[in-house]
Symmetry: C2
Subunit: 416 residues, 2 copies
């Protein structure tokens, strides 16, 4: 069986120390086969071939397998059987699970039949850890401060690290990120001279877009030091320093009043226990004609994030259902005007990120190591899959003060 | 002070028996003035002049009053002070409260300052009475079986008794109701030959529209005998009998599977305790590519319906918040794709209904009596006001099976 990503690739950094020791002494026993087979049946017989450390293949699917996953040692197999999400993620990262075939298609094939079960198992929303002011700073630092140079390698040129909006399936990622920013501004009917507060501004692309194309005055908050420094420099270079104030602070410390409250891709890091507080911030920011937009990854049913993603990629993150988001709005009588689920657009965005990441993979490996490459490859592939098979949603929610009658008569202007 | 709707108008039927006796013995005491003044302050000093039975006026607003309300007797005044919603509704219906000026503007002026208070008072959602199979039939009969001839007088020619969709503010009600039906069909991407189940079909206009313009096969449910008879006759006359089956039964008895589940203006009568059951009906109706739309009056915050409307116009009705609607979707993993709040369109729809009602008011009086005329005038005026000032919302929610990827790439087709 040819391996498209041979083990030799990862020997440099991955399979060392204990992993190598395990791999060396690994032998498959009959019980391994029995347990793996039972697991695959329980998991809905995915069309993925599993290969035991001794080379024996186990396949419970029907039809042609989409690809294979190979366990290099028994410890990895048992870690996977005990805790599949973490076990697969860590095993793949360490090079102790190898896959043969297209990673996205294999993950999709493996997840598709088991997705309803995954949702049910985690249905009693064990919420993400508390996101205190200090905790948030730590969690955000861990992901977003990996280095601007890293993100530049594979994000679009404006550095938007949130779901794009593809006006047509043929649009490029660059165009789709610009289209997303217009989509957001049109939805809230942003007018020249209006004051906008942005909670969680990333590298500042949307703040710059609102200032440049809509004549807005923006105060943009972010607790990622790396991002905010970059954003300040970029805005200054573009001559937008007068119209944008980048503030390195938590959204809970937002003060002042604004015509618009915008938050794109931050709610995932707020944590469901804090939504009412988040709503209180919006409530104190918005005058009688105020309106806003929240863009967030979400769920159809309450469930915690994929355990491996939560542990290794996005500590403290939690994607809410639409119902779970309502404490942001309902206690304050904020009126929900428009919700759009952009799920297919995130499948596409993450697939584009993955393709660009692979094109720069040698540079990424030089900056970090092979384990990092594999972890991020799996994270981007898994993200695309989760949106494709409906495990994750992307909600854009437009809201306004309850008595504000100044919104456009229909949504047609968004598509004009 | 000229009375635009003089008492003489209502003497025929309204102010008789006990009401007339009370009116005769009514005198205002100083305490009436004190209490009314305190009430008006508590109610946010609305710009409406109140006139006591002895002709004394009390005004706590600032600026020019929008109009006046006059209490014919002390019993009516105290009924109003004790239970303003019921007291005003019943007093107005009976002709014991007269208004001078435009009813819509006076109700709006009276409600606007007090609306946040009303919302807070009723915030602990005392839910509407149980809507059992028998109870629902009784409640629906009371409102919808008033006679097709009555509704024909003032609804559009196709008899749609739900919020219209005005593509432009200048559109006529007739055009806006047709536009609403297209809006619904486009949102779910209805295709020729698809099977649709409609829960709560009114007089059948949407079912006919889907069959005629989209080539759908429709099974339409309704428990109003008057409506369903009318619908059947109309569909047969239009030669659509083959493609539409009208079923006089409760939505809970829907069987079969369908490509689309549509419910326009029925959820208000389902009752929040039954939403999960409603979701279970949808769940058993929809295959893997199934999708649907629910169109319902709603709220920003949980609150029961206006007490007078609930008692006299819509027994058993309850307008849910978006959050309260989620038990329809989340337990079944149904994916919410699109929510549109059409609040301004319902303000306009109800205002159009009221204007048409007034043009036919003599016929309505002949069919019923002056009390009926006044109750319906107030109901239609109050509905327009409630949507204008944000006490009510109109949510159109598009949903689909969680793994269905067949929806159009964007919402642009809805506006093409």
């Amino acid at each position: 069986m040819p391996m498209s990503q041979p083990l030799s690739q990862v020997q440099g950094s991955a399979v060392t120390g204990p992993a190598r020791a395990q791999a060396t002494r690994a032998r498959a026993l009959p019980i391994d086969r029995v347990l793996l087979r039972a697991f695959l049946r329980f998991a809905g017989r995915p069309p993925v071939r599993c290969v035991l450390p001794n080379g024996d293949a186990v396949y419970e699917g029907s039809g042609e397998p989409v690809g294979s996953m190979r366990f290099r040692d028994r410890a990895t197999l048992y870690h996977f059987l005990r805790a599949p999400e973490i076990g697969f993620g860590e095993g793949y990262t360490d090079g102790r699970i190898e896959i043969d075939g297209d990673l996205v298609e294999i993950v999709a094939a493996a997840y598709q039949p088991v997705a309803p079960l995954v949702e049910k198992l985690f249905f009693t929303a064990r919420r993400a850890r508390q996101n205190s002011l200090v905790g948030s700073r730590h969690n955000i630092h861990r992901h977003y401060d990996l280095g601007n140079h890293f993100y530049r390698l594979w994000l679009d040129e404006r550095m938007l690290y949130t779901c794009a909006y593809f006006p047509t399936p043929e649009a490029s990622l660059e165009d789709a990120q610009v289209a997303k920013m217009h989509h957001v501004c049109r939805k809230v009917g942003l007018q020249p001279g209006e004051r906008v507060v942005e909670a969680g501004c990333g590298w500042g692309a949307l703040a710059m877009h609102m200032a440049q194309h809509y004549g807005a005055h923006v105060r943009a908050f972010n607790i990622s030091h790396e991002q905010i420094s970059w954003a300040r420099e970029r805005a200054a270079r573009a001559g937008l320093g007068e119209r944008i104030e980048f503030i390195e602070d938590d959204y809970r410390n937002v003060s002042g009043t604004y015509d618009c409250f915008i938050s794109v891709g931050m709610l995932e890091h707020v944590g469901a226990d804090h939504y009412r507080d988040f709503g209180a911030v919006i409530d104190r920011c918005l005058p009688a004609h105020g309106r806003g937009l929240i863009h967030s990854i979400g769920r159809n049913r309450p469930a915690r994030l994929n355990a491996w993603i939560e542990k290794h990629i996005f500590p403290g993150a939690y994607p809410p259902t639409l119902g779970e988001m309502m404490p942001i709005f309902e206690p304050f009588g904020l009126s929900v005007l428009d919700v759009e689920n952009l799920r297919p657009h995130y499948e596409r965005t993450a697939a584009d990120w993955l393709a660009r990441f692979e094109r720069q993979v040698d540079q990424v490996r030089d900056m970090f190591d092979e384990r990092f490459v594999r972890a991020w490859r799996l994270y981007l592939a898994g993200t695309s899959v989760a949106f494709r098979i409906g495990l994750l949603q992307l909600f854009q929610v437009v809201f306004a003060r309850d008595r504000f009658n100044g919104m456009p008569w229909t949504r047609a202007h968004v598509y004009a």
